[in-house]
């Protein structure tokens, strides 16, 4: 049986880099700043140990890649005056990394073990990335956003002028906002701030929308809701989504009334507070926070091969529309796996397609 994801062999890597890969596929925003970026290479599959490389000319990078057919190629999100020393830092992109392999609230629990990915995981990662784009554009006013398929998830790279110099602390704040990592308080409900059409609470509702459509009975049990509350929630997911997430109605209207009470006498928090903040514990984990906060990180180079997954890290574009249409099983497949992936994907669709 052919596989959707599998490791590329050294021979296939050579094939890819000699026949298929073209330096023109590296996005402009990297080529334009080439001489200020640090490049890292993983030659063996054990991690990028060949660091601190600099290429002042795209042809040098091309030669090096063709000559070594690396397992993986990375470039810094930071720009340096001396990239070979990682010194003279003068700015870094603002990056959000959604790795489909590490997502909580998986809908495909029964299909594969954790640490692997399937089309459902990737679809979910895409939904998170789309929500993120909305927030970055509408709330922060960013206009220079680039989306990349990383081979097993998505990178969102913001290049607007003012992000470059942001310190880690500011990036952390933006991440906390975008991933709705801060808890909701009873005051946020009483004051109706939870219903605001913009700002943190809107992001919160977006992330809650993702959560409520995936949460299971087991999760709710673990969070301590009562039997009644659990069955009420699970039977009104559609209504909650429509009223609370899409229409920003008052939680008093949008949620089942049994949630107004604590699940039991020994608990102080209402079922509603428990449910809302359960979303936060998950949404924190949608992003690999280190990637956003660390301003000296290296990130997989778009156009390079993700050898572990057997896919191409692919530049998608700047618009939501492009991301919505993007299908990794068609748009990010290296030639040497074209037939194999096609077959495997069709097979997968036949078996599980209805769950996408």
């Amino acid at each position: 049986m052919s596989e959707l994801f599998r490791e590329a062999t050294p021979e296939e890597r050579r094939l890819y880099y000699s026949k298929e890969w073209k330096p023109e596929n590296i996005p402009e925003f990297i080529v334009d700043t080439l001489e200020h970026r640090e490049f890292g290479f993983d030659h063996t599959g054990e991690g990028p140990s060949d660091r601190k490389n600099v290429f002042t000319d795209l042809r040098d990078l091309e030669d090096y890649i063709r000559a070594t057919s690396p397992y993986a190629v990375y470039s810094s999100v930071a720009l340096y005056t001396e990239p070979q020393e990682m010194e003279g830092w003068f700015g870094a992109e603002l990056v959000f990394d959604i790795d489909a392999k590490d997502l909580p609230l998986r809908r495909c629990q029964d299909l594969h073990e954790s640490g692997r990915v399937c089309p459902i995981c990737l679809e979910d990662a895409k939904e998170l990335a789309l929500d993120t784009l909305v927030v970055l554009r509408e709330d922060f006013g960013f206009e220079d956003i680039h989306v990349v398929y990383s081979g097993r998830g998505f990178h969102i790279r913001v290049l607007d002028d003012w992000v470059w110099e942001l310190e880690s602390k500011a990036r952390e704040k933006i991440l906390a906002y975008v991933s709705s990592a801060e808890e909701i308080t009873p005051g946020d409900l009483q004051s109706n701030r939870i219903m605001l059409s913009s700002g943190y609470f809107r992001v919160f509702r977006l992330r809650f929308g993702y959560f409520i459509r995936r949460v299971t009975e087991n999760h709710l049990k673990n969070f301590g809701l009562s039997e009644k509350q659990i069955s009420d929630v699970l039977s009104s997911v559609q209504r909650i989504y429509r009223d609370f997430v899409a229409e920003a109605k008052s939680p008093l209207v949008a949620f089942p009334s049994s949630l107004r009470r604590p699940p039991s006498r020994s608990v102080k928090r209402s079922g509603l507070m428990i449910l809302l903040n359960a979303s936060t514990t998950f949404s924190k984990a949608y992003f690999d926070g280190k990637v956003t906060i660390d301003v000296k990180r290296i990130l997989r180079l778009p156009s390079s091969l993700h050898s572990k997954a057997g896919f191409i890290a692919t530049y998608i574009g700047t618009k939501e529309e492009k991301l919505r249409k993007f299908n990794p099983f068609e748009d990010a497949v290296p030639d040497f796996r074209r037939e194999e992936v096609k077959g495997a994907y069709e097979e997968w669709l036949e078996e599980h397609g209805d769950r996408l």
């Binding site: 003012w162 500011a170 701030r193 605001l196 059409s197 913009s198 700002g199």
Partner: protein, 395 residues
Amino acid sequence: MLDPFGEEAKRIVREFGGIEALLERIPRYVGIDIVLERVKQWEGEIPERILNMTPHEDVMSFYALLGALAFSPYGAEMELVKRTNARIYRERIKRSGEITGISIPLKKIEKGEIPDRDRIILEKPRHEEITEEEREKLKLKYKMSLPSFLRLWEGSLKSVYIRKGNAYLREEQALELWEKAFERNLERSVNLLYELRDELPPYYSELHEKLGEIARKYFKERIGGFSGEAQPLRFELFPPCIKNALAGVPAGLRNYAITVLLTSFLSYARICPNPPRKDVRIKDCISDLSVIEKEILPIIIEAGNRCKPPLFEDQPHEIKNIWYHLGFGLTDKPRLEDSGNSTWYFPPNCDKIRANAPQLCKPDSHCRPIKNPLTYYLRRLYIESRKAGGGGDNE
């Protein structure tokens, strides 16, 4: 005038021919007593006289304080000047209801910018139990673009209304931001003047001394100990260049890193973090050599031993050089009376360090406002003491 770092103030400083020229002129125009009035209003009503100063008088008396702070950046004096003067300008801004011309880019909100439904939630116009005054406080009055906002705001982004690249602010939040900017501007100016302190007229050291008295009185009652006074060394607060020197350096760098940089930094940091004048001697600050022999020298020697090859094995006479840089002349049997035989070498400025030993300078975020490793250390001590005292700054 609403802001001593705003447009109008900048214009006045320029009229005088820049900050140095201004500081030259101030002693002729403003008496020390008048300047000191600005720092006596810790709480309670601020005298109308101060609130109604003319812009020129205001600029001169405020910049006089900055000149005095150059003698002990990051000491209790700075805290005193910051707090009392922030109160003065805050009050003026509040009274005028205007925010144009201050040092942060705040804008008034246009009509219809915030959807009605959101405004109703945030400003509660329909809550009749709320007093007029409280309602005024809830009003979103200003906005600031996110790039500027993020540079100043220390809280989370949950507590402000964000929309289309702007943060929308209530008056109190706007003032909080202004105060943050005021603190940073003040800090920046003081670091700038630190370089010039030896050339300032005696007026400023006199003013500085008076500030010190007032500050000590205030802070004894309120916060307890403060930075800027001699105290045991806190290695974790040293700047990167000093940490790098302590870790040992290769042959070509040893004499500079150990004999010049470490010796000067450690001795001033430990014995006399805020030298009252340029030609200060060690014997002016301590009464016997034990601090040097027991605390400072062992650190220097250990760092020398960590060098490759070890500095004092190669060059045993280098010990004499250390005493020389401490101001005892070339000797290896120094007595306290000898201090003053040579100059007690002051820690070099950052640009000198970068020129002489670029490998040592690996700036971190605290390096941004400062120009000398010693002020780096003072700044961090200052932040620590504010944290301990429950001050507002949590950098």
